[in-house]
């Protein structure tokens, strides 16, 4: 008991706060439909058919078109979790995964700096706000721990602890079947190789220069020339990189996976239309947080009392660029930049850190107990009883058309060619698999023209022309995202009678 009380320091409260707040954020975020339902539906399809689908079977606009289903393992995991414990279990899994991932990052930063409170404060105050927009239930989140492990293993290798390098190809074999971000693991290895090679070249050049400019006339100077620093051999990293690349082939499509990634990155016109793939902007609250993160980082780098590691700077620079080009990528940038900023900020702290105030064990224990209680009552099985507003208390976000789809399913004269909101497509694939969709969040499946038509139709432009062109006979619309088309429907009650309506959704069928 005394031992336990001794461990209840203020430092442990800081660590507990990081883990709990991250878990709370995940527990209190209703799941958006975009990348949840269609992935689960694919997991269900794989389970029932015993095969990974290779063509589209969810839409009527691209039915039969080749579709590379790269994230099959994540889809099976999602579906399996759902089967085990529904969306509640998936939410808890998400919270554990995120708390574990950022807990790992925190451990890594503390290990490098010894600065517990600084590490916790930066993760809570900077990393968490800059990342949490991306913490939704989807395959990308499952890839995040792998990314952080790559980061840690490569940093440890640089520090001379080489034992765990073998882990990278093993993780690559899993990652390539989980999510398209597997290439980022390869990027980390490649940039580490370049950074380490440059560091060695610059170090050798500096040493040779210093040696050439030494005072002459010292006879025994050859004996005093310092030995070159012992660094891990680069060939290890090179071989690891090759093995990681080889491990990428351990997927059902083999080399096709590379083509898939190229296609995804190359469909730039589409990526400009879809918000999540559009460049970071300060006009958006998340953009403000992102640029604030960068600005504070610049100030930290400017005042740090040590020169940063070149590899870490290369990682940060490359992932900064990636984050600028698409909102969804900022999660990777914050993960690589956090250790750099913490290590640099720690160099500004006074050395005597241990003598600081640790609080009283009783009070610390009480705070930790309170945090644990918060965690407990926010579990998905308990939180409905708290009467929280839907933005915190619901399991699914308001753009999940549960009632609208129910109304559609119970309609005896259902439309065959339904037009709907984009995230609705994802939910329809799951909840009404017999109802083929017009579009859904698989951005690379649909051609640019169809995306443009989606934009036009949703805003009520070229309405009649496009409705005719696609022979649309039913509409399941979001009142907020498709207000232009909703207005058109209301103006044409004879042609488009509304069969169901609530605050978020309108369902109408052509007469």
């Amino acid at each position: 008991m005394t031992q336990l009380m001794r461990r209840l320091t203020l430092d442990s409260v800081w660590i507990g706060a990081v883990v709990v707040f991250i878990a709370l954020r995940a527990l209190l975020t209703p799941a958006p439909p975009h990348d949840l339902w269609w992935h689960m539906a694919t997991g269900r399809l794989i389970t029932t058919t015993g095969a990974i689908p290779t063509v589209d079977s969810f839409s009527y606009t691209q039915a039969g078109e080749v579709f590379y289903n790269q994230s099959w393992l994540a889809q099976l995991l999602m579906y399996g979790l759902y089967q085990l414990g529904g969306l509640e279990l998936m939410t808890v899994f998400q919270a554990v995964l995120l708390a574990g991932t950022y807990g790992l990052l925190l451990w890594f930063c503390i290990r490098r700096t010894g600065a517990i409170r600084l590490s916790a404060a930066i993760i809570l105050g900077m990393t968490m706000p800059a990342s949490f927009d991306n913490w939704t239930i989807r395959p990308q989140t499952y890839a995040l721990p792998l990314f952080v492990i790559y980061l840690i293993v490569l940093t440890e290798w640089r520090a001379g602890r080489r034992a765990s390098l073998w882990l990278l190809p093993v993780l690559a074999a899993i990652w390539v079947n989980l999510h398209g971000s597997f290439v980022l693991g390869g990027a980390l290895v490649a940039l580490a190789f370049i950074g380490e090679m440059m560091s060695r070249l610059i170090g050798n050049w500096r040493e040779a220069n210093a040696w050439a400019q030494r005072p002459i006339g010292v006879a025994e100077d050859v004996l005093t020339r310092p030995d070159p620093p012992k660094l891990p051999p680069l060939r290890e990293l090179f071989i690891t990189g090759v093995l990681v690349g080889t491990a990428w082939l351990l997927n059902p499509g083999g080399f096709q996976v590379i083509g898939y990634v190229r296609n995804l990155i190359g469909s730039s016109p589409v990526t400009q239309i879809v918000t999540e793939w559009s460049p970071m902007t300060i006009r958006d609250p998340n953009g403000v947080i992102f640029f604030l993160f960068v600005t504070i980082g610049v100030a930290i780098l400017a005042y740090a009392k040590r020169t940063p590691n070149l590899t870490e700077m290369l990682w940060t620079g490359a992932f900064f660029w990636l984050a600028l080009s698409a909102v969804r990528n900022n999660i990777w940038f914050t993960a690589v930049a956090t250790p750099l900023f913490i290590v640099q900020a720690a160099s500004m702290l006074p050395k005597a850190r241990l003598a600081r105030f640790q609080g009283t064990p009783v009070l610390n224990g009480a705070i930790l107990a309170l945090l644990s209680l918060c965690l407990l009552i926010c579990l998905p099985w308990i939180k409905p009883a708290l009467g929280l507003p839907p933005e915190l208390g619901a399991l699914t976000s308001s753009d999940t058309p549960i009632a609208g789809v129910e109304a559609l399913r119970s309609d005896p004269a259902r439309p065959e060619r339904l037009f709907h909101d984009l995230p609705y497509g994802s939910y329809l694939i799951w909840a009404a698999p017999e109802q083929l969709v017009w579009i859904d969040p698989r951005i690379e499946l649909y051609p640019l023209e169809q995306w443009r038509h989606y934009q036009a139709l949703s805003t009520g432009q070229r309405t009649e022309e496009l409705l005719t062109q696609y022979a649309i006979d039913g509409l399941l619309l979001s009142t907020t995202q498709q207000s232009g088309l909703v207005e058109y429907v209301r103006e044409h009650p004879e042609q488009w009678p509304i069969r169901y309506e609530d605050a978020d959704t309108v369902y109408a069928v052509k007469r």
Binding site: Q272, F291, V298, M313
Partner: protein, 521 residues
């Protein structure tokens, strides 16, 4: 008798000016930037209506109402905050027509970036660093070099930075700070970016005070800080020396909070890394981060406040990138360049240690320098059009009479001439930039639907304008505004052009590949 020889007479030998190879680098950078600025076609948007406003200032005094557009009452209030910049452009126009106005832009741009080079040299002691930093700063602003009243802000901005930097370094005495209010008296009347001067002076005052309080090395003494505070106060007081008095800040607040500008104008959007200029800006940010991280000289608190503040502004809107580039690149170069001793420990010997580089020798270097300057002279408005440019290059310019190779192709010279010859029988809808040219070339005979005075028009009008641009509900919108003629930019408004072609009751009366005029039958 022995003849006494007279002492040899001292003959003065004339020598060529010594131009070192590193000085050639910076000269090459400045001449390249100057030539680039000189060849940038002037877009119609922010030029013609300002020139017309300058004419009104010269003939009637500073205007205070709408004037150029029919969609608002003629006496609808509008603030011509840049009246002095407009007036100066008009004076220059009267002196030497359009070529002299564009030359003024070229001169201001070249001078401003020369000051960036000098500032970088002051901070690094290296002309090579100066060349690199200046080129990088200029590259960031390559789409911000059109002729407009913002040109009048370039030199005051960098001059203020130069002045305050030297003051903080102790190279200039307090009396030089008198220039701050004098500069502001001009700036506050010439362009809205005068507020950048206030922010910069504020950043220096705050940063230097913090340095003093933290007892950092070479922090200013309280006496010098007091002089700086006085300079800042004087500068603040000088902002009221304008026709609006203190009301200029209300105007600024309105302007910055104007939702139409913030939503519809690309210049006010966050730089996009997917386009060239956005990519160069973010490369500059990366360069700055790397420079601060691998610094050989630690930036001061003032410098970090300045850079972070200007970077934040640049993240807010593309139009602010120019200020970030002018300040951040010298600071990045300073962080990376070898530390420069403030005082020589070896007297004059310090300079002797450094070997002089001559490149091709005095004659060769001088010839190279003259060639660079000649290149810059040749691309000036009076001679540039005589050079054998490829057709693609010439196609970027409009054929403005008396001003070849100066104005951008989307200047509706022919279409407006057509409208002058055959006036529209009703009201006219026009592309936004065309509205600017109409203010110069058609007003008061005809007025525009909309023009680049974005904050003047209500958001509802902009919504209709965007609808028409996109070819949506064209017939309904044209009917609701009772429009008789449409003047459109075919490459910029293809959907509207297509809609007009399909619209019954309308006929095209003019087309030159760029501009089209449609009339209601």
């Amino acid at each position: 008798m022995e003849q006494v020889s007279s002492p040899p007479t001292q003959t003065r030998v004339r020598t060529l000016p010594h131009i070192r190879i590193d000085q050639l680098w910076v000269l090459l950078a400045i001449c390249t930037i100057g030539a680039f600025i000189s060849l940038r076609p002037t877009l119609p948007n922010d030029f013609w209506w300002h020139l017309k406003a300058g004419e009104l200032v010269a003939t009637e005094g500073i205007p205070t109402t709408n004037r150029f557009a029919w969609t608002l009452p003629i006496d609808h209030p509008y603030v011509y905050q840049s009246w002095l910049g407009e007036y100066l452009f008009y004076l220059i126009y009267q002196l030497g027509s359009f070529p002299l106005v564009v030359f003024a832009r070229n001169l201001l741009g070249t001078l401003a970036f020369s000051l960036v080079a000098i500032e970088t040299h002051q901070r690094t002691g290296s002309w090579r660093w100066a060349a690199g930093a200046t080129l990088f700063a200029a590259a960031m602003t390559m789409n911000n070099l059109t002729t407009r009243t913002q040109n009048w802000s370039w030199v005051p901005f960098i001059a203020l930075f130069f002045l305050l930097s030297r003051y903080v370094e102790g190279k200039l005495g307090p009396r030089w700070l008198i220039a701050m209010p004098l500069l502001m008296m001009f700036w506050v009347n010439a362009h809205g970016a005068f507020v950048m001067g206030l922010l910069m002076a504020g950043a220096f005052a705050v940063g230097e005070t913090l340095r003093r309080l933290l007892r950092q090395p070479r922090a200013l003494t309280w006496a010098r800080l007091r002089a700086l505070y006085l300079g800042c106060l004087g500068m603040g007081a000088a902002t009221v020396v304008n026709p609006l008095g203190i009301g200029v800040f209300t105007y600024l607040r309105t302007m910055l909070g104007d939702s139409a500008s913030q939503s519809f104008i690309i210049e006010w959007q966050t730089p996009n890394p997917r386009d060239l200029v956005g990519a160069i800006f973010y490369l500059g940010v990366l360069a700055l981060i790397a420079a601060f991280a691998f610094q050989r000289r630690r930036p001061t608190i003032t410098e970090v406040i300045l850079v972070c503040g200007l970077a934040w502004q640049a993240f807010v809107g593309v139009r602010y990138v120019v200020w970030f580039g002018m300040v951040a690149m010298p600071l990045a170069a300073q962080a990376l360049a070898a530390p420069r001793p403030l005082f020589s420990t070896a007297g004059g010997a310090m300079h002797a240690i450094r070997p002089r580089e001559r490149g091709a020798g005095p004659v060769g270097n001088l010839i190279a320098a003259m060639l660079m300057v000649l290149m810059l002279v040749l691309v000036q408005p009076w001679t540039a059009h005589r050079l054998p440019w490829p057709d693609d290059m010439r196609a970027q310019y409009a054929a403005v009479p008396g001003a070849p190779l100066l104005f951008a192709a989307p200047t509706p010279v022919g279409a407006v001439e057509h409208l002058r010859a055959e006036p529209c029988s009703g009201l006219l809808f026009n592309e936004m930039g065309y509205g600017s040219y109409m203010a110069w070339a058609l007003y008061p005979a005809a007025q525009a639907f909309i023009d680049p005075r974005v904050e003047l028009y209500p958001v509802a009008l902009w919504d209709d304008y965007i609808d028409l641009n996109a070819g949506r509900n064209v017939a309904a919108h044209l009917a609701s505004y009772d429009i008789g003629c449409v003047l459109l930019d075919a490459p910029k408004q293809p959907q509207l052009a297509a809609a007009m072609a399909a619209l019954p009751g309308w006929a095209q009366s003019y087309s030159d590949g760029q501009s089209e005029v449609w009339r209601r039958q």
